[in-house]
Structures are given as structure tokens and as C-alpha cells.
């Protein structure tokens, strides 16, 4: 049985949205019989993450949360993975990270030298518009949906058994589909959402072996 580790901090608006939306990936993973280690809320901390990785050896790791070019963070921005310190924890794993800019150095270097199988992430900040009035029900937020749905296609495709290259393609296609939809929209929010869709689509990248799959 393939094992999935997913981190879902929820300490601010941004992570609360990522937490809620990545629930859809977990549902898909359950449907495909994966064993799931869901580090949500305060459990998205370095100690728990390292313990799961060492003891359970998940083949697929999905990171939600903040980050930068060299780090991926968890609850209250606790550093989970830091380049030059513990990126070897990602050895032989397929990783998808929404953490901003984490593909730029961390993703690139851990696939080049530290044996991470594949790393899909973003070279720049992941951005999305949302309606704060929907904060208690992020899944009903039509303004946030395009970017978060497109992002989700990576994880959904991977848990279905598709390889990293196909999963990247599925997500890029989703971004394009939403871009097409919003280009024709007369909604006031449309131009703003459109800009973030294009930004995220262009910034998303795949490093490592595109043939990697669970």
C-alpha cells in the first residue's frame, strides 16, 4: 500500500484555505487506497513530520503552507524542510509543495543531488484572491477556487498513480481551462483572478524524474 504524507497547517487565512482545499486530495487518496498521514493544524510541525518520514517512509509527500526558496514551513511557520539541513528526508520521494518559491532552490537542489525522485512546486510566490467572508467555508469560495483547484490537480493525479510529468501537465491544463473561463467572464473579480492564474501557471515547475509515480 502506498503511503502519503500531507501537511496542512491552518494558522492564518492562506493556510486555512490550503488546509480546506487539500482535503479534496485526501478524499481522492482514500478512494485509491493510500495509507494517509495527515499532519493538520499544530501537527504540521518538524518533529511529527520527521518522525512520520523516518518510521513510515511515505513515497508521496504533499506540503501545504508557507515557504521560500530554501525552506518549507508548517504550523506557525515552523520550518519543516530546510536546504542544507534536512532535505535528505525527501530522498526517493515524490513531492508537491505549494510553499512559495520552494521549487526554485530547494526543489532543484534536492532532485539534483539529494535523490528526491521528483519535486513539483513553484518558482515564485503562490498567489490567489479570496473572499474573506467565506473564510469559514473556503470550499464555497468561487474566487479562490480556480487557483486552488488547479493546484489540487497535481496531488489528485499523483494519488491516482499518474507520473509526475502527467500530474504536472494535468495541473497546467487546469490552469489553462480556468484562464479560458475567466478571460470571458464579466465578473468584477475576473481580471484579478486571471492575473494570479497566469502567474501561478507560469511559475509552476517540475524537477527530477518526470516518470516518478507511486
Amino acid at each position: 500500500m502506498s503511503r502519503l504524507l500531507i501537511t496542512r497547517p491552518d494558522h492564518d487565512d492562506v493556510t486555512a484555505y490550503l488546509h480546506a482545499w487539500s482535503g479534496k486530495v485526501i478524499e481522492e487518496a482514500r478512494r485509491h487506497g493510500l495509507e494517509i498521514f495527515d499532519l493538520k493544524g499544530e501537527r504540521a510541525n518538524r518533529k511529527d513530520m520527521e518522525s512520520i518520514i523516518r518510521d513510515k517512509q511515505p513515497v508521496l509527500v504533499l506540503f501545504n503552507g508557507h515557504g521560500n526558496e530554501k525552506e518549507i514551513a508548517g504550523y506557525n511557520d515552523d520550518t519543516l524542510i530546510s536546504l542544507g539541513h534536512n532535505e535528505n528526508l525527501l530522498d526517493r520521494k515524490i513531492v508537491y509543495s505549494v510553499a512559495c518559491s520552494s521549487a526554485k532552490e530547494l526543489g532543484r537542489k534536492c532532485t539534483d543531488s539529494a535523490n528526491c525522485s521528483a519535486f513539483i512546486g513553484y518558482e515564485e510566490d503562490f498567489a490567489f484572491y479570496y473572499d474573506p467572508n467565506r473564510l469559514s467555508r473556503p470550499l464555497s469560495d468561487a474566487i479562490a477556487a480556480p487557483n486552488l483547484d488547479s493546484s489540487n490537480q497535481v496531488g489528485i493525479s499523483l494519488v491516482k498513480g499518474n507520473d509526475a510529468k502527467e500530474s504536472f501537465r494535468m495541473s497546467q491544463n487546469a490552469f489553462r481551462k480556468w484562464i479560458g473561463k475567466f478571460m470571458g467572464s464579466k465578473e468584477l473579480e475576473a481580471p484579478y483572478v486571471l492575473q494570479t492564474l497566469i502567474h501561478n501557471m507560469m511559475s509552476q515547475s517540475l524537477h527530477g524524474n518526470g516518470g516518478s509515480k507511486i
Binding site: 492564518d12 487565512d13 492562506v14 484555505y17 508557507h66 515557504g67 521560500n68 514551513a73 511557520d77 512559495c100 518559491s101 510566490d125 503562490f126 498567489a127 490567489f128 484572491y129 479570496y130 473572499d131 474573506p132 467572508n133 474566487i143 479562490a144 468584477l188 473579480e189 481580471p191 484579478y192 486571471l194 492575473q195 494570479t196 497566469i198 502567474h199 507560469m202
Partner: protein, 80 residues
């Protein structure tokens, strides 16, 4: 650091001024920004302001590339 043209700052400022007031921008590690927050950062021309303008520039480059691709395809169709 690439210099950003004055007109690019102005274009983004006008876009943000027209933004519906009820929505916010989640911009990675910078957190959530209201319309007023965004205008403040643009006014200060700080790192967040720069990111916003860079996103706008990327958006325009995307459309330019798409238009060029379309024009190229149409030329190829006409010649066929």
C-alpha cells in the same frame, strides 16, 4: 534588481484602485492583503509592491506570447 518603469507602477496602482473592495490577495509568505494594504505597498514601492508589479508584467508578457503564437498560426494557415 531590475528597474521598474514608472508607468508600470501607475498601471498596477490604477488596477488595484478598481479592485472590488471585498476580496483579498493571498500572496505567499507575505500573507493576506486587502485593497488598501496593496495600495500602501505600491505607494511605498517596497518588496511586496514590486512583486505585484512583477506579476502584472508577467501577465502582459503571457498575453503578448499568446498573441504572437496565434498570429504565427494564422500566417501558417493562410500559407497552407
Amino acid at each position: 534588481m531590475t528597474e521598474i518603469a514608472e508607468e508600470d507602477w501607475e498601471v498596477v496602482k490604477h488596477r488595484v484602485e478598481s479592485m472590488p473592495a471585498h476580496i483579498k490577495l493571498a500572496l505567499g509568505s507575505y500573507g493576506s492583503l486587502s485593497r488598501d494594504d496593496m495600495l500602501t505597498h505600491l505607494e511605498k514601492r517596497d518588496a511586496i509592491g514590486r512583486k505585484m508589479v512583477e506579476m502584472q508584467i508577467g501577465y502582459l508578457k503571457f498575453f503578448k506570447r499568446e498573441m504572437e503564437k496565434l498570429a504565427h498560426e494564422q500566417t501558417a494557415d493562410n500559407e497552407a
